[in-house]
Each structure stands twice: as C-alpha cells, then as structure tokens.
C-alpha cells in the first residue's frame, strides 16, 4: 500500500484584484462584481509515494510544490481529486511555529512540541532532548530574543526532528545554522532514511536532492512533468530553466 496516494488533484486559487485604495472606490466597488485572477496551482496531479521512499520535489517558484505539500498535509482542500494517507504524518512547512521572543527557550520549545503533537507524557523528556540536540542547554532559561537567528532555527529544527511520525513533509527547511550544525542535521537525515521513514522534501538545493532522494519529481505549471532517478530529472529541470521564462507569475513557491 502506498504511504501517500494523490489522485487527480486540482486546486485553483482565486485572487481578487484589489485596487480600491480610496473609500469612494471601495463603496463603488460594492456594486460592481469583483474580478478575480484565477491561478491554477495544481492541475490534475497524480502521485504515488511508497513507504520508506525519500522523494524530492523540485520546480520553479509557483509551480505548485508547496500547494501539493499543503494538500497532502490536509491544510488545503483540493477542488477535485483524492488524497490517501496511510500512517501518521507530520508536516514541517516552517520551523519554530509559535515561537515568541518574549518567552524562554524552554517555554518556546514546550509550546512548539505541543503544536507538533507530542504526547503529554513524553513532553518534558522530548523538550530536554531537543534543547540538548540544539546545543542550547546553557540558554535554557534565556528569553528567545536574546538568541541569534541561527540559534532559533536550530532550536526549531531540533524540536521538529523529535517527531516520530511515519511520514514527514519538509518544505525548504533543511540544513540550518552553521556548518557544524548542518553536518549534524544531515546526519539525522541519514538516520531517518535508515529508519525507513517516508520523507517528501521540497527543495531548491539540488545538491541536497541529489544526495538524499532516491526519487525526484519535477513540477511545472501545476503538473508533474518528470519523475525518476535524481540525475535525469535534475537535468530536465535545468533544461527547463534555460528558455525564456514563461508568462506564469511566480506566486509563493
């Protein structure tokens, strides 16, 4: 059975043309029909991801990668099509959700761990582990605003990695912090791979994709245009970039 099965998924966003800047214009606009820009983010995507696969998704900005990830996570409801997920899933679309500069490191990690859904009984232990992994033991009770940006990201990454879900969805969050910490993160990825977790990774870092993914999917204009071994698909992607840019506007990854 597939870990994730996406069948015939369509998703269109309607983006209103908002040009009413003055009050009079706004009042007048009430009587006019609102015009929308239709943006087809996904047009009939079929994708089957087997358990234990490390799948990379590449493509230009606005090609639908992030939308697909959100649909797989269940954040967005597709206009048509089905998504089947078997196993527990954890979506890491952004690191350090809910972090607040006014709270201490420990308070922030506890909140983030709760958002990620760690069971209550393990919460304290996981929080301790995460702070240790991020090498921020010394700053446990310091307010987050006193930490550097890199340290905050490390903290977010370390907490997120405690998730023991079967499926991980990652959106451009790999390798944060300095070179030493990056090495540590990449080590964790090798570990996750050995544990036969299913991982879907959206990335613009082609070296990373080459290094970890055994299966790469190329997106363009909301469609899957190529899939297969990393080298061949990345080659295809680079070819795609060479000709003049398409009129499609870049809209949020």
């Amino acid at each position: 059975m597939a870990a994730i099965e996406v069948r015939g998924v369509y998703k269109t966003f309607r983006i209103p043309h908002e040009v009413h800047t003055t009050l009079t214009e706004r009042v007048l606009a009430l009587f006019r029909s609102i015009s929308y820009e239709r943006f087809e983010a996904l047009c009939g995507v079929d994708l089957r991801i087997e358990p234990g696969a490390f799948v990379g998704i590449i493509g230009r900005n606005g090609s639908g990668k992030s939308t697909l990830l959100k649909v797989m996570a269940g954040l967005l409801i597709p206009d048509a099509g089905t998504v089947r997920v078997s196993g527990s899933m954890c979506e890491l679309l952004e690191l350090g959700l809910g972090f607040s500069p006014e709270l201490t490191v420990r308070e922030n990690v506890t909140l983030y761990a709760s958002i990620l859904g760690y069971p209550r009984r393990q919460l304290a232990a996981r929080v301790k582990q995460a702070i240790k992994f991020a090498e921020l033991d010394r700053f446990r009770d310091a307010k987050l605003k006193n930490l550097s940006t890199g340290m905050c990201m490390r903290l977010g990454f370390a907490t997120a990695l405690q998730a023991d879900s079967d499926i991980l969805l990652l959106d451009e969050i790999l390798a944060v912090g300095d070179a030493e910490f990056q090495q540590k993160c990449l080590g964790t990825f090798v570990e996750l791979k050995q544990q036969r977790k299913t991982i879907v990774l959206v990335s613009h870092d082609l070296d990373q994709v080459r290094r970890f993914c055994d299966d790469v999917v190329l997106f363009d204009a909301g469609r899957v245009v190529a899939r297969g071994a990393p080298e061949a698909v990345i080659e295809r992607y680079l070819q795609l970039l060479v000709p003049s840019p398409s009129p499609r506007q870049a809209m949020g990854g």
Binding site: Y10, G44, G74, L76, R84, I115
Partner: protein, 287 residues
C-alpha cells in the same frame, strides 16, 4: 496502521476534466481527529499560558495587574453610583463587583475568542490542528483572569459580610451558562471574522453598548416595566441577574427562569459550534 482517506469534490469543471466520480465530501474535522494520537489538552493549556505570560512581561507588578485593573474600576463605579448618585441597592459593593467580573469575562473571552483564528494564523496555516483549539485557548486565557477576579470577589464577600447560603450552589450552573455563552459567541464569530474584518469593530461596539444596556451597574428592577423585555432577551443579563440573586442575596432563582437561561446559553453554544464546524475547513485559505 491507520488509514485516512479524504475525498473532496466540488461542482467544478475541473471535475469533469479529471473524469472523477464526484459527489461526496468527507468532513475534514473527523479526519483531523483521527490523524494524531495526542490529545489537545496540553496544546490548549500551552497556548493559554503563552498568552498570559506575554501579557505581563516587562511589567514590575506582573500578574497583579489582572487584579488591580478590575479593583480600580470597581472602586470607580462604587464611588460614582453609590456615593455620588446614591443608588439604593442593598449590598451594592458585592452586587457591583460580581456583575462587573462576570461581564468582563464575557467581553474579554468573546473578543479574544473571535480574534483567535487570526491571532494564531501563523500556526494554523502551517500545521494541521483542530482549529477550535485556538478558540478554547483564548477562552482559557480569559478564564485565568476570571478565576483571579473571582478570588478577589470572595474576599470582598467575606469582608462585607455576605454569607453564602445553599442557593449559591446555583452559581455553578450559571458559570457553566456563562462559559457556554462566551464559547458559543466566539465559535460563531471567529470564522466569520476571518472573512469580514468588520466583525471585529462591530463586536467591540456590541460589547460596549451591552455594558450599559445590561443591568450591571444598576438593578434590572430600575428599568421601567415596558422595557424589561430587553433584559429578558439578553442572555448575559439573565445570567448576571440570576447570579446576583443566588450569590449576593441568597435567594433561590425561579426554576423556570434558570432553565430558560441554561437552554438559551447552550443553544447559542451549539449554534456557534455548528457554524464553526461548517466554516473551519476552508478558513485556512483566508488567513
């Protein structure tokens, strides 16, 4: 291994293009519940604590502000309505503080609850959570202040020599009504507020008007007979006037009146929950 399936369809041309058998939709919230094994109790608590902690950072007096604020207003109202205007209401201090504390919870809770989805947009747009969690957290955060204020109230009751009799047990029911009413209004308004920001301003005005239209500073008996229906139809006024009866005066409330108040509050809660359930699935797209 748990299998979750979501099928979505819309009467969209995309459907025909895809050649899919459309027609049924599964409620997304049931899927959300089955997806994660953890309960959301600790998350609600963490959100509420975060709110509470952040509110009082950088202040010397910290949490005491949540006591000082109602106490100052209580003294002000007392001076104006008991010394300057000389309302002839027995046990006015307890009468006043109880009403103000209850209305404050309703007003703070519903205002925060309404804004909760937007306030936590960063988390909700990136992580799959049952969205009502943030509304519960907002109410819990307002509830912490409420509990502190109730403790001050108990001190005042003792100080002014008001004895709690057996009728005060009804206050538990009235507290449940108050929470149900506040929760119902929050759940009802929160998803609508995401689409129409006017709701925020509108609700603020309703709360301010409500403070004067509801018998909080004065007694409902001071209202001329032909205007009493305003109190009868106002759920928060029903709750407050019954609370004063049982806590301050130690009189049993009318069973029928209490039943209507309870049904009214629970009705609003159920309505709010139904609206929230219906609107929450697509709320993320508008955050």
């Amino acid at each position: 291994m748990a299998i979750n399936e979501r099928q979505h369809s819309d009467e969209r041309d995309a459907l025909r293009e895809a050649g899919l058998p459309g027609g049924w939709r599964r409620d997304d919230s049931t899927w959300l519940r089955s997806r994660r094994r953890s309960n959301y109790g600790s998350l609600i608590l963490q959100f509420a604590l975060k709110d509470f902690k952040i509110r009082y950072t950088h202040s010397v007096l910290g949490y005491t502000w949540s006591v000082i604020n109602p106490v100052i207003f209580f003294v002000l109202y007392y001076v104006v309505f008991s010394i300057f205007m000389r309302f002839d209401i027995p046990k006015y201090p307890a009468f006043l503080l109880l009403s103000v504390v209850m209305y404050n919870f309703f007003s703070e809770g519903s205002a925060k609850g309404t804004g909760a989805l937007l306030a936590r947009a960063d988390v909700l747009s990136k992580m799959v959570l049952p969205r009502e969690v943030v509304v519960y957290a907002a109410l819990l955060s307002a509830g912490l202040t409420f509990v502190i204020n109730l403790a001050v109230l108990i001190g005042l009751l003792w100080f002014t020599g008001v004895d709690l009799g057996p009728p005060a047990l009804c206050f538990i029911v009235l507290l449940v009504d108050l929470v149900a009413l506040t929760l119902g209004m929050s759940l009802f308004l929160a998803p609508i507020y995401v689409r129409f920001r006017d709701i925020g301003y509108l609700w603020n005005i309703v709360l301010q008007v409500g403070f004067w239209v509801t018998p909080i500073l004065y007694s409902e008996l001071m209202i001329p007979e032909r205007w009493r229906w305003i109190v009868w139809w106002n759920p928060i006024a029903r709750i407050i006037s019954d609370s004063r009866r049982v806590v301050v005066y130690g009189v049993w409330p009318g069973a029928r009146g209490l039943l209507i108040t309870t049904m009214y509050s629970l009705g609003i809660c159920i309505l709010g929950a139904a609206v929230f359930r219906r609107l929450q699935a697509r709320v993320v797209e508008y955050l």
